[in-house]
Amino acid sequence: MEPRQPSRDPLLSYNPLTLWPPKLSLPSHLTQLHPQHQRILLQQRSQTMSLAKKPWSLKPDTYANLMTRKEKDWVIKVQMVQLQSENPRLDDYYYQEYYQKLEKTQADKELLGHRNRAESLKLVTPHIQKAEGYESVVRIEGSLGQVAVSTCFSPRRAIDAVSHGTQEQDTGAASSQRLRVLSLIEKMFLQLLEIEEGQNDGFPQLYHSEEQRNQVEKLFQALKTQGQDNLEETADSLLQVLSVRKGKILVARLLPFLPHDQAVSLLLYITYHLPLLILRDMADQALHILFKPLGKYIHYLTFHQLLHGLQGLMLLPPGTSERPVSVVLQNQFGISLLYALLSHGEQLVSLDSSLQSSSDCAAWTDLVILVTWEISQLPTASLAEPLAFPRNLLPLFCHHMDKQLMQQLEARMELACIY
Protein backbone atom coordinates (compact mmCIF):
# COMPACT_ATOMS: atom_id res chain seq x y z
CA MET A 1 0.00 0.00 0.00
CA GLU A 2 1.40 3.31 -0.94
CA PRO A 3 1.98 5.86 1.79
CA ARG A 4 -0.23 8.86 1.78
CA GLN A 5 1.40 11.86 0.34
CA PRO A 6 -0.90 14.80 0.60
CA SER A 7 1.08 17.90 0.12
CA ARG A 8 1.69 20.10 3.07
CA ASP A 9 1.56 23.14 0.92
CA PRO A 10 -0.65 25.48 2.90
CA LEU A 11 -1.68 27.04 -0.33
CA LEU A 12 -3.36 23.89 -1.39
CA SER A 13 -5.15 23.23 1.83
CA TYR A 14 -6.28 26.80 1.85
CA ASN A 15 -9.71 26.82 0.39
CA PRO A 16 -10.57 30.27 -0.87
CA LEU A 17 -14.22 29.48 -0.74
CA THR A 18 -14.54 29.58 3.02
CA LEU A 19 -13.68 31.87 5.82
CA TRP A 20 -11.40 30.87 8.63
CA PRO A 21 -12.03 28.86 10.82
CA PRO A 22 -13.45 26.44 8.31
CA LYS A 23 -16.86 25.04 8.98
CA LEU A 24 -17.90 21.68 7.74
CA SER A 25 -21.05 23.12 6.31
CA LEU A 26 -20.80 24.32 2.78
CA PRO A 27 -20.93 27.98 1.85
CA SER A 28 -24.13 29.12 0.25
CA HIS A 29 -22.98 29.14 -3.30
CA LEU A 30 -21.91 25.54 -3.05
CA THR A 31 -25.35 24.44 -2.01
CA GLN A 32 -26.46 24.69 -5.57
CA LEU A 33 -24.27 21.77 -6.51
CA HIS A 34 -25.48 18.35 -7.40
CA PRO A 35 -26.09 16.45 -4.13
CA GLN A 36 -23.50 13.82 -4.95
CA HIS A 37 -20.95 16.48 -5.72
CA GLN A 38 -21.77 18.19 -2.49
CA ARG A 39 -21.32 14.97 -0.58
CA ILE A 40 -17.94 14.36 -2.14
CA LEU A 41 -16.74 17.85 -1.38
CA LEU A 42 -17.79 17.53 2.23
CA GLN A 43 -16.08 14.21 2.50
CA GLN A 44 -12.90 15.63 1.05
CA ARG A 45 -13.07 18.54 3.40
CA SER A 46 -13.47 16.32 6.43
CA GLN A 47 -10.68 14.09 5.24
CA THR A 48 -8.21 16.90 4.91
CA MET A 49 -9.29 18.11 8.34
CA SER A 50 -8.68 14.70 9.86
CA LEU A 51 -5.40 14.27 8.11
CA ALA A 52 -4.22 17.60 9.34
CA LYS A 53 -4.58 16.25 12.83
CA LYS A 54 -1.98 13.52 12.20
CA PRO A 55 1.12 15.29 11.03
CA TRP A 56 3.45 12.38 11.75
CA SER A 57 1.79 10.19 9.17
CA LEU A 58 2.62 12.57 6.39
CA LYS A 59 5.78 11.67 4.51
CA PRO A 60 7.44 14.91 3.44
CA ASP A 61 7.32 15.36 -0.28
CA THR A 62 10.86 16.43 -1.08
CA TYR A 63 9.95 17.52 -4.58
CA ALA A 64 7.10 19.74 -3.54
CA ASN A 65 6.98 23.40 -4.56
CA LEU A 66 9.21 23.02 -7.57
CA MET A 67 6.79 25.46 -9.04
CA THR A 68 7.18 28.53 -6.92
CA ARG A 69 4.40 30.83 -5.86
CA LYS A 70 5.74 33.42 -8.25
CA GLU A 71 5.46 31.04 -11.16
CA LYS A 72 1.95 30.00 -10.22
CA ASP A 73 0.93 33.60 -10.00
CA TRP A 74 2.44 34.23 -13.36
CA VAL A 75 0.47 31.45 -15.01
CA ILE A 76 -2.71 32.69 -13.38
CA LYS A 77 -1.91 36.18 -14.55
CA VAL A 78 -1.51 35.00 -18.13
CA GLN A 79 -4.81 33.18 -17.92
CA MET A 80 -6.52 36.17 -16.40
CA VAL A 81 -5.26 38.52 -19.06
CA GLN A 82 -6.93 36.35 -21.63
CA LEU A 83 -10.18 36.67 -19.78
CA GLN A 84 -10.16 40.42 -19.81
CA SER A 85 -12.96 41.90 -21.76
CA GLU A 86 -14.36 45.32 -22.55
CA ASN A 87 -17.93 44.10 -22.50
CA PRO A 88 -18.31 41.14 -20.15
CA ARG A 89 -22.03 40.86 -20.72
CA LEU A 90 -21.27 40.03 -24.31
CA ASP A 91 -18.22 37.85 -23.87
CA ASP A 92 -19.14 36.07 -20.69
CA TYR A 93 -22.89 36.23 -20.68
CA TYR A 94 -23.68 33.09 -18.72
CA TYR A 95 -21.34 33.76 -15.86
CA GLN A 96 -22.55 37.34 -15.52
CA GLU A 97 -26.17 36.21 -15.52
CA TYR A 98 -25.45 33.51 -12.99
CA TYR A 99 -23.62 35.83 -10.70
CA GLN A 100 -26.39 38.39 -10.85
CA LYS A 101 -28.95 35.79 -9.88
CA LEU A 102 -26.71 34.63 -7.08
CA GLU A 103 -26.33 38.09 -5.67
CA LYS A 104 -30.03 38.65 -5.90
CA THR A 105 -30.88 35.49 -3.99
CA GLN A 106 -28.31 36.42 -1.38
CA ALA A 107 -29.76 39.85 -1.00
CA ASP A 108 -33.20 38.36 -0.65
CA LYS A 109 -32.01 35.94 1.95
CA GLU A 110 -30.33 38.71 3.85
CA LEU A 111 -33.55 40.62 3.87
CA LEU A 112 -35.26 37.62 5.33
CA GLY A 113 -32.82 37.73 8.18
CA HIS A 114 -30.45 34.96 7.16
CA ARG A 115 -27.18 36.67 7.81
CA ASN A 116 -23.82 35.00 8.12
CA ARG A 117 -23.65 34.05 4.50
CA ALA A 118 -20.13 33.94 3.28
CA GLU A 119 -19.52 36.56 0.66
CA SER A 120 -19.67 34.70 -2.57
CA LEU A 121 -16.59 35.30 -4.56
CA LYS A 122 -16.70 36.70 -7.99
CA LEU A 123 -14.14 35.99 -10.61
CA VAL A 124 -12.35 39.27 -10.82
CA THR A 125 -9.79 39.66 -13.50
CA PRO A 126 -7.02 42.01 -12.51
CA HIS A 127 -6.88 44.95 -14.80
CA ILE A 128 -3.64 44.34 -16.57
CA GLN A 129 -2.87 46.61 -19.43
CA LYS A 130 -2.08 44.40 -22.35
CA ALA A 131 -0.11 46.81 -24.46
CA GLU A 132 2.64 47.69 -22.07
CA GLY A 133 5.47 49.82 -23.26
CA TYR A 134 8.70 47.97 -23.61
CA GLU A 135 12.19 49.00 -22.79
CA SER A 136 14.31 49.01 -25.83
CA VAL A 137 17.39 47.88 -23.96
CA VAL A 138 17.09 44.87 -21.72
CA ARG A 139 19.59 43.66 -19.17
CA ILE A 140 19.39 39.95 -18.54
CA GLU A 141 20.48 39.03 -15.06
CA GLY A 142 23.88 37.48 -14.87
CA SER A 143 24.90 38.45 -18.36
CA LEU A 144 27.55 40.90 -19.35
CA GLY A 145 25.86 42.68 -22.17
CA GLN A 146 22.60 44.24 -23.11
CA VAL A 147 20.00 43.06 -25.53
CA ALA A 148 18.27 45.43 -27.87
CA VAL A 149 14.56 44.83 -28.05
CA SER A 150 12.22 46.09 -30.65
CA THR A 151 8.62 45.35 -31.38
CA CYS A 152 6.33 45.78 -34.29
CA PHE A 153 2.60 45.47 -34.11
CA SER A 154 1.86 45.08 -37.78
CA PRO A 155 4.90 43.60 -39.47
CA ARG A 156 3.24 43.08 -42.81
CA ARG A 157 2.45 46.73 -43.01
CA ALA A 158 5.97 47.62 -42.02
CA ILE A 159 7.47 45.74 -44.93
CA ASP A 160 4.85 47.02 -47.35
CA ALA A 161 3.50 43.55 -47.87
CA VAL A 162 0.02 44.88 -47.39
CA SER A 163 -1.01 47.99 -49.21
CA HIS A 164 -3.00 50.43 -47.22
CA GLY A 165 -4.62 53.69 -48.11
CA THR A 166 -4.71 52.97 -51.81
CA GLN A 167 -6.30 55.73 -53.75
CA GLU A 168 -7.93 53.48 -56.29
CA GLN A 169 -10.82 51.28 -55.33
CA ASP A 170 -9.67 47.77 -55.97
CA THR A 171 -12.48 46.10 -57.78
CA GLY A 172 -12.11 42.51 -58.89
CA ALA A 173 -10.86 43.41 -62.35
CA ALA A 174 -8.53 46.11 -61.11
CA SER A 175 -6.91 43.93 -58.49
CA SER A 176 -6.40 41.04 -60.88
CA GLN A 177 -4.82 43.41 -63.35
CA ARG A 178 -2.58 44.73 -60.62
CA LEU A 179 -1.56 41.19 -59.81
CA ARG A 180 -0.78 40.59 -63.46
CA VAL A 181 1.43 43.65 -63.55
CA LEU A 182 3.19 42.57 -60.39
CA SER A 183 3.91 39.10 -61.69
CA LEU A 184 5.12 40.59 -64.96
CA ILE A 185 7.50 42.82 -63.05
CA GLU A 186 8.80 39.85 -61.13
CA LYS A 187 9.52 37.90 -64.30
CA MET A 188 11.28 40.84 -65.89
CA PHE A 189 13.28 41.45 -62.76
CA LEU A 190 14.58 37.92 -62.86
CA GLN A 191 15.70 38.51 -66.43
CA LEU A 192 17.37 41.73 -65.33
CA LEU A 193 19.24 39.94 -62.59
CA GLU A 194 20.55 37.46 -65.12
CA ILE A 195 21.76 40.28 -67.30
CA GLU A 196 23.43 42.01 -64.39
CA GLU A 197 25.17 38.85 -63.36
CA GLY A 198 26.44 38.37 -66.85
CA GLN A 199 28.24 41.72 -66.95
CA ASN A 200 31.90 42.12 -66.03
CA ASP A 201 33.09 44.52 -63.39
CA GLY A 202 30.27 47.01 -63.73
CA PHE A 203 31.09 48.26 -67.17
CA PRO A 204 27.91 47.45 -68.98
CA GLN A 205 28.66 49.47 -72.06
CA LEU A 206 31.99 47.95 -72.88
CA TYR A 207 31.84 44.20 -72.61
CA HIS A 208 28.64 43.22 -74.26
CA SER A 209 28.52 39.59 -75.16
CA GLU A 210 26.17 38.43 -77.86
CA GLU A 211 24.09 36.59 -75.33
CA GLN A 212 23.80 39.57 -73.08
CA ARG A 213 22.67 41.77 -75.92
CA ASN A 214 19.99 39.25 -76.77
CA GLN A 215 18.80 39.12 -73.19
CA VAL A 216 18.64 42.88 -72.99
CA GLU A 217 16.72 43.10 -76.23
CA LYS A 218 14.32 40.46 -75.04
CA LEU A 219 13.70 42.32 -71.83
CA PHE A 220 13.24 45.63 -73.54
CA GLN A 221 10.68 44.13 -75.86
CA ALA A 222 8.87 42.60 -72.92
CA LEU A 223 8.81 45.97 -71.26
CA LYS A 224 7.79 48.03 -74.21
CA THR A 225 5.53 46.04 -76.39
CA GLN A 226 3.07 44.86 -73.84
CA GLY A 227 1.11 47.86 -74.92
CA GLN A 228 1.20 50.05 -77.97
CA ASP A 229 4.20 51.52 -79.63
CA ASN A 230 3.09 55.09 -79.85
CA LEU A 231 3.74 57.55 -77.15
CA GLU A 232 0.22 58.68 -76.52
CA GLU A 233 -1.19 55.43 -75.29
CA THR A 234 -1.74 55.79 -71.57
CA ALA A 235 -3.45 52.57 -70.71
CA ASP A 236 -0.64 50.29 -71.61
CA SER A 237 1.43 48.04 -69.49
CA LEU A 238 4.64 50.09 -69.45
CA LEU A 239 2.84 52.83 -67.61
CA GLN A 240 1.51 50.34 -65.13
CA VAL A 241 4.96 48.89 -64.65
CA LEU A 242 6.29 52.35 -63.94
CA SER A 243 3.51 52.94 -61.45
CA VAL A 244 4.89 50.21 -59.23
CA ARG A 245 7.98 50.90 -57.17
CA LYS A 246 9.72 47.76 -58.26
CA GLY A 247 8.95 48.58 -61.85
CA LYS A 248 10.76 51.89 -61.51
CA ILE A 249 13.75 50.12 -60.01
CA LEU A 250 13.66 47.65 -62.87
CA VAL A 251 13.75 50.37 -65.51
CA ALA A 252 16.44 52.32 -63.66
CA ARG A 253 18.69 49.29 -63.56
CA LEU A 254 17.99 48.29 -67.12
CA LEU A 255 18.78 51.68 -68.64
CA PRO A 256 22.59 51.35 -68.50
CA PHE A 257 22.39 48.20 -70.61
CA LEU A 258 20.15 49.57 -73.33
CA PRO A 259 21.36 50.82 -76.69
CA HIS A 260 20.98 54.58 -76.99
CA ASP A 261 17.91 54.72 -79.14
CA GLN A 262 15.95 52.41 -76.88
CA ALA A 263 17.00 54.31 -73.78
CA VAL A 264 15.99 57.54 -75.47
CA SER A 265 12.59 56.12 -76.29
CA LEU A 266 12.10 55.25 -72.61
CA LEU A 267 13.17 58.74 -71.64
CA LEU A 268 10.69 60.27 -74.02
CA TYR A 269 7.95 58.02 -72.81
CA ILE A 270 8.57 58.98 -69.20
CA THR A 271 8.74 62.65 -70.09
CA TYR A 272 5.50 62.50 -71.98
CA HIS A 273 3.67 60.82 -69.14
CA LEU A 274 5.45 62.70 -66.38
CA PRO A 275 2.41 64.25 -64.68
CA LEU A 276 0.56 60.95 -64.56
CA LEU A 277 3.61 59.10 -63.29
CA ILE A 278 4.07 61.65 -60.55
CA LEU A 279 0.50 61.29 -59.45
CA ARG A 280 0.87 57.54 -59.33
CA ASP A 281 4.12 57.84 -57.42
CA MET A 282 2.56 59.59 -54.47
CA ALA A 283 2.59 56.50 -52.28
CA ASP A 284 5.98 55.13 -53.28
CA GLN A 285 8.01 58.33 -53.78
CA ALA A 286 10.44 56.31 -55.87
CA LEU A 287 10.75 58.25 -59.12
CA HIS A 288 14.00 59.88 -58.10
CA ILE A 289 15.90 56.65 -58.73
CA LEU A 290 15.23 57.15 -62.40
CA PHE A 291 16.83 60.60 -62.52
CA LYS A 292 20.45 59.66 -62.83
CA PRO A 293 20.08 56.86 -65.37
CA LEU A 294 17.70 58.92 -67.48
CA GLY A 295 19.78 62.05 -67.18
CA LYS A 296 22.62 60.46 -69.09
CA TYR A 297 20.49 60.17 -72.22
CA ILE A 298 19.00 63.64 -72.26
CA HIS A 299 21.68 65.03 -74.50
CA TYR A 300 20.84 62.45 -77.15
CA LEU A 301 17.44 64.00 -77.69
CA THR A 302 16.82 65.98 -80.80
CA PHE A 303 14.94 69.20 -80.52
CA HIS A 304 11.92 67.75 -82.15
CA GLN A 305 11.90 64.73 -79.91
CA LEU A 306 12.27 66.93 -76.85
CA LEU A 307 9.41 69.08 -77.88
CA HIS A 308 7.19 66.16 -78.55
CA GLY A 309 8.01 64.66 -75.18
CA LEU A 310 7.39 67.90 -73.33
CA GLN A 311 4.02 68.29 -74.94
CA GLY A 312 2.75 65.74 -72.47
CA LEU A 313 2.85 68.64 -70.05
CA MET A 314 0.09 70.31 -71.96
CA LEU A 315 -2.29 67.46 -71.42
CA LEU A 316 -4.39 67.30 -68.33
CA PRO A 317 -3.77 63.93 -66.67
CA PRO A 318 -6.93 62.02 -65.83
CA GLY A 319 -8.24 62.06 -62.33
CA THR A 320 -7.05 65.48 -61.28
CA SER A 321 -7.86 69.09 -61.92
CA GLU A 322 -4.39 70.32 -61.11
CA ARG A 323 -2.42 71.65 -64.03
CA PRO A 324 0.20 69.19 -65.19
CA VAL A 325 3.11 71.60 -65.00
CA SER A 326 2.11 72.48 -61.48
CA VAL A 327 2.10 68.81 -60.57
CA VAL A 328 5.53 68.38 -62.09
CA LEU A 329 7.01 71.40 -60.36
CA GLN A 330 5.91 70.20 -56.97
CA ASN A 331 7.63 66.87 -57.37
CA GLN A 332 11.39 66.59 -56.96
CA PHE A 333 11.95 64.18 -59.80
CA GLY A 334 9.55 66.13 -61.97
CA ILE A 335 11.20 69.48 -61.45
CA SER A 336 14.67 68.02 -61.84
CA LEU A 337 13.84 66.27 -65.08
CA LEU A 338 12.03 69.30 -66.39
CA TYR A 339 14.92 71.61 -65.65
CA ALA A 340 17.37 69.20 -67.23
CA LEU A 341 15.22 68.91 -70.36
CA LEU A 342 14.70 72.65 -70.64
CA SER A 343 18.38 73.22 -70.21
CA HIS A 344 19.11 70.81 -73.00
CA GLY A 345 16.54 72.47 -75.20
CA GLU A 346 18.03 75.88 -74.54
CA GLN A 347 21.45 74.56 -75.38
CA LEU A 348 20.21 73.15 -78.65
CA VAL A 349 18.51 76.41 -79.56
CA SER A 350 21.47 78.57 -78.69
CA LEU A 351 23.87 76.35 -80.60
CA ASP A 352 21.78 75.89 -83.70
CA SER A 353 20.46 79.16 -85.07
CA SER A 354 18.37 77.39 -87.67
CA LEU A 355 16.09 76.12 -84.95
CA GLN A 356 15.22 79.61 -83.88
CA SER A 357 13.20 80.24 -86.94
CA SER A 358 11.58 76.84 -87.24
CA SER A 359 7.97 76.14 -86.45
CA ASP A 360 9.07 74.14 -83.47
CA CYS A 361 10.47 77.24 -81.92
CA ALA A 362 7.06 78.78 -81.39
CA ALA A 363 5.95 75.71 -79.57
CA TRP A 364 9.17 75.80 -77.57
CA THR A 365 8.64 79.40 -76.58
CA ASP A 366 5.09 78.67 -75.51
CA LEU A 367 6.30 75.85 -73.37
CA VAL A 368 8.96 77.90 -71.66
CA ILE A 369 6.54 80.71 -70.97
CA LEU A 370 4.08 78.26 -69.52
CA VAL A 371 6.70 76.84 -67.20
CA THR A 372 7.93 80.20 -66.05
CA TRP A 373 4.43 81.36 -65.38
CA GLU A 374 3.72 78.27 -63.32
CA ILE A 375 6.88 78.74 -61.28
CA SER A 376 5.88 82.25 -60.46
CA GLN A 377 2.36 81.16 -59.55
CA LEU A 378 3.30 78.50 -57.10
CA PRO A 379 4.08 79.46 -53.51
CA THR A 380 7.77 79.02 -52.88
CA ALA A 381 7.24 76.31 -50.34
CA SER A 382 5.49 74.14 -52.88
CA LEU A 383 8.34 74.17 -55.34
CA ALA A 384 10.31 71.01 -54.97
CA GLU A 385 14.04 71.18 -54.69
CA PRO A 386 15.62 69.97 -57.89
CA LEU A 387 18.31 67.34 -57.79
CA ALA A 388 20.40 69.42 -60.16
CA PHE A 389 20.07 73.01 -61.22
CA PRO A 390 21.45 73.74 -64.70
CA ARG A 391 23.15 77.07 -65.16
CA ASN A 392 21.47 78.18 -68.35
CA LEU A 393 17.95 78.07 -67.00
CA LEU A 394 17.67 81.46 -65.43
CA PRO A 395 18.82 83.28 -68.57
CA LEU A 396 16.38 81.14 -70.54
CA PHE A 397 13.50 82.21 -68.38
CA CYS A 398 14.59 85.80 -68.36
CA HIS A 399 14.65 85.80 -72.09
CA HIS A 400 10.97 85.08 -72.24
CA MET A 401 9.31 87.46 -69.86
CA ASP A 402 9.19 90.96 -68.49
CA LYS A 403 11.40 92.40 -65.87
CA GLN A 404 9.05 92.31 -62.93
CA LEU A 405 8.19 88.72 -63.46
CA MET A 406 11.86 88.01 -63.89
CA GLN A 407 12.76 89.47 -60.53
CA GLN A 408 9.99 87.56 -58.84
CA LEU A 409 11.15 84.43 -60.54
CA GLU A 410 14.75 85.01 -59.61
CA ALA A 411 13.88 85.37 -55.97
CA ARG A 412 11.66 82.32 -56.07
CA MET A 413 14.10 80.04 -57.73
CA GLU A 414 16.99 81.01 -55.52
CA LEU A 415 14.89 80.41 -52.46
CA ALA A 416 13.78 77.09 -53.82
CA CYS A 417 17.40 76.08 -54.24
CA ILE A 418 18.23 76.97 -50.68
CA TYR A 419 15.50 74.68 -49.50
Binding site: Q5, D9, Y63, I76, L123
Partner: protein, 137 residues
Protein backbone atom coordinates in the same frame (compact mmCIF):
# COMPACT_ATOMS: atom_id res chain seq x y z
CA UNK B 1 -3.33 36.24 -4.96
CA UNK B 2 -6.70 34.66 -4.91
CA UNK B 3 -6.84 31.76 -7.25
CA UNK B 4 -9.63 31.80 -9.70
CA UNK B 5 -12.85 30.59 -8.20
CA UNK B 6 -15.32 28.86 -10.49
CA UNK B 7 -12.75 28.16 -13.14
CA UNK B 8 -10.78 25.06 -13.93
CA UNK B 9 -7.14 25.59 -13.25
CA UNK B 10 -4.39 23.11 -12.87
CA UNK B 11 -2.75 25.12 -10.12
CA UNK B 12 -4.57 23.23 -7.42
CA UNK B 13 -3.37 19.95 -8.90
CA UNK B 14 0.30 20.71 -8.51
CA UNK B 15 2.33 18.15 -6.54
CA UNK B 16 -0.49 15.64 -6.66
CA UNK B 17 -0.52 12.27 -8.34
CA UNK B 18 -2.32 12.26 -11.65
CA UNK B 19 -3.40 9.91 -14.34
CA UNK B 20 -2.91 11.42 -17.78
CA UNK B 21 -4.37 10.01 -20.97
CA UNK B 22 -2.55 11.04 -24.12
CA UNK B 23 -3.83 11.31 -27.65
CA UNK B 24 -1.71 8.42 -28.80
CA UNK B 25 -3.43 6.17 -26.29
CA UNK B 26 -0.75 6.01 -23.65
CA UNK B 27 -1.62 6.21 -20.01
CA UNK B 28 0.82 8.01 -17.76
CA UNK B 29 0.75 8.22 -14.00
CA UNK B 30 2.92 10.70 -12.22
CA UNK B 31 3.18 13.67 -9.91
CA UNK B 32 2.26 16.92 -11.55
CA UNK B 33 5.06 19.31 -10.78
CA UNK B 34 4.65 22.23 -13.12
CA UNK B 35 2.32 23.68 -15.70
CA UNK B 36 2.12 26.67 -17.98
CA UNK B 37 -0.56 28.60 -19.82
CA UNK B 38 -0.79 25.97 -22.57
CA UNK B 39 -1.35 23.21 -20.01
CA UNK B 40 2.01 21.69 -20.83
CA UNK B 41 2.71 19.32 -17.97
CA UNK B 42 5.79 18.28 -16.10
CA UNK B 43 5.26 14.83 -14.63
CA UNK B 44 7.60 13.43 -12.03
CA UNK B 45 8.24 9.78 -11.16
CA UNK B 46 6.10 8.84 -14.08
CA UNK B 47 5.09 5.34 -15.01
CA UNK B 48 3.45 4.27 -18.20
CA UNK B 49 0.67 1.82 -17.49
CA UNK B 50 -0.31 -0.75 -20.08
CA UNK B 51 -3.62 -2.53 -19.73
CA UNK B 52 -4.44 -5.86 -21.35
CA UNK B 53 -7.68 -7.35 -20.21
CA UNK B 54 -7.67 -7.58 -16.46
CA UNK B 55 -3.92 -7.28 -16.17
CA UNK B 56 -1.68 -4.27 -16.21
CA UNK B 57 2.00 -3.50 -16.10
CA UNK B 58 3.94 -0.38 -15.13
CA UNK B 59 6.94 0.83 -17.03
CA UNK B 60 8.93 3.41 -15.09
CA UNK B 61 9.68 6.41 -17.25
CA UNK B 62 11.05 9.12 -15.01
CA UNK B 63 10.30 12.73 -15.88
CA UNK B 64 7.92 13.65 -18.65
CA UNK B 65 7.31 16.96 -20.32
CA UNK B 66 4.00 16.66 -22.10
CA UNK B 67 2.88 19.20 -24.64
CA UNK B 68 -0.56 20.42 -23.68
CA UNK B 69 -2.27 19.72 -26.96
CA UNK B 70 -1.55 16.01 -26.66
CA UNK B 71 -3.50 15.51 -23.49
CA UNK B 72 -6.96 14.01 -23.76
CA UNK B 73 -7.76 14.15 -20.09
CA UNK B 74 -6.14 13.98 -16.72
CA UNK B 75 -7.40 13.40 -13.23
CA UNK B 76 -6.12 13.29 -9.73
CA UNK B 77 -5.47 9.89 -8.21
CA UNK B 78 -6.80 9.29 -4.77
CA UNK B 79 -3.84 7.74 -3.05
CA UNK B 80 -5.95 5.78 -0.63
CA UNK B 81 -8.13 4.24 -3.25
CA UNK B 82 -5.33 3.62 -5.67
CA UNK B 83 -4.58 0.11 -4.61
CA UNK B 84 -8.25 -0.74 -4.36
CA UNK B 85 -8.58 -2.35 -7.76
CA UNK B 86 -9.73 -5.61 -9.28
CA UNK B 87 -6.95 -5.49 -11.82
CA UNK B 88 -3.89 -7.63 -11.46
CA UNK B 89 -0.42 -6.17 -11.75
CA UNK B 90 2.11 -8.23 -13.69
CA UNK B 91 5.66 -7.76 -14.82
CA UNK B 92 6.61 -5.60 -17.77
CA UNK B 93 7.72 -8.48 -19.95
CA UNK B 94 4.50 -10.31 -19.40
CA UNK B 95 2.28 -7.35 -20.13
CA UNK B 96 4.14 -6.56 -23.31
CA UNK B 97 3.73 -10.17 -24.42
CA UNK B 98 0.07 -9.99 -23.59
CA UNK B 99 -0.27 -6.83 -25.63
CA UNK B 100 1.33 -8.39 -28.67
CA UNK B 101 -1.03 -11.33 -28.34
CA UNK B 102 -3.98 -9.01 -28.06
CA UNK B 103 -2.96 -7.16 -31.21
CA UNK B 104 -2.65 -10.35 -33.23
CA UNK B 105 -5.97 -11.60 -31.92
CA UNK B 106 -7.70 -8.39 -32.86
CA UNK B 107 -6.21 -8.41 -36.31
CA UNK B 108 -7.26 -11.99 -36.92
CA UNK B 109 -10.76 -11.10 -35.78
CA UNK B 110 -10.87 -8.17 -38.13
CA UNK B 111 -9.82 -10.30 -41.07
CA UNK B 112 -12.41 -12.89 -40.20
CA UNK B 113 -15.20 -10.37 -40.03
CA UNK B 114 -14.09 -8.84 -43.29
CA UNK B 115 -14.07 -12.25 -44.99
CA UNK B 116 -17.54 -13.02 -43.77
CA UNK B 117 -18.78 -9.65 -44.88
CA UNK B 118 -17.39 -10.32 -48.33
CA UNK B 119 -19.39 -13.49 -48.41
CA UNK B 120 -22.51 -11.72 -47.31
CA UNK B 121 -22.68 -13.18 -43.83
CA UNK B 122 -22.53 -11.06 -40.73
CA UNK B 123 -21.97 -12.55 -37.33
CA UNK B 124 -23.69 -10.53 -34.62
CA UNK B 125 -21.38 -9.28 -31.92
CA UNK B 126 -22.31 -8.92 -28.30
CA UNK B 127 -22.07 -5.16 -28.28
CA UNK B 128 -23.98 -4.58 -31.46
CA UNK B 129 -26.56 -7.26 -31.25
CA UNK B 130 -29.82 -6.21 -29.69
CA UNK B 131 -30.59 -8.16 -26.57
CA UNK B 132 -33.96 -8.74 -25.21
CA UNK B 133 -34.59 -7.18 -21.88
CA UNK B 134 -36.77 -8.46 -19.18
CA UNK B 135 -39.33 -5.89 -18.36
CA UNK B 136 -40.36 -5.69 -14.78
CA UNK B 137 -44.02 -5.87 -14.30
Amino acid sequence: MNYMPWTASLIEDIDKKHLVLLRDGRTLIGFLRSIDQFANLVLHQTIERIHVGKKYGNIPRGIFLVRGENVVLLGEIDLEKESDTALQQVSIEEILEQRVEQQTRLEAEKLKVQDLKDRGLSIPRADTHMTRQRLST
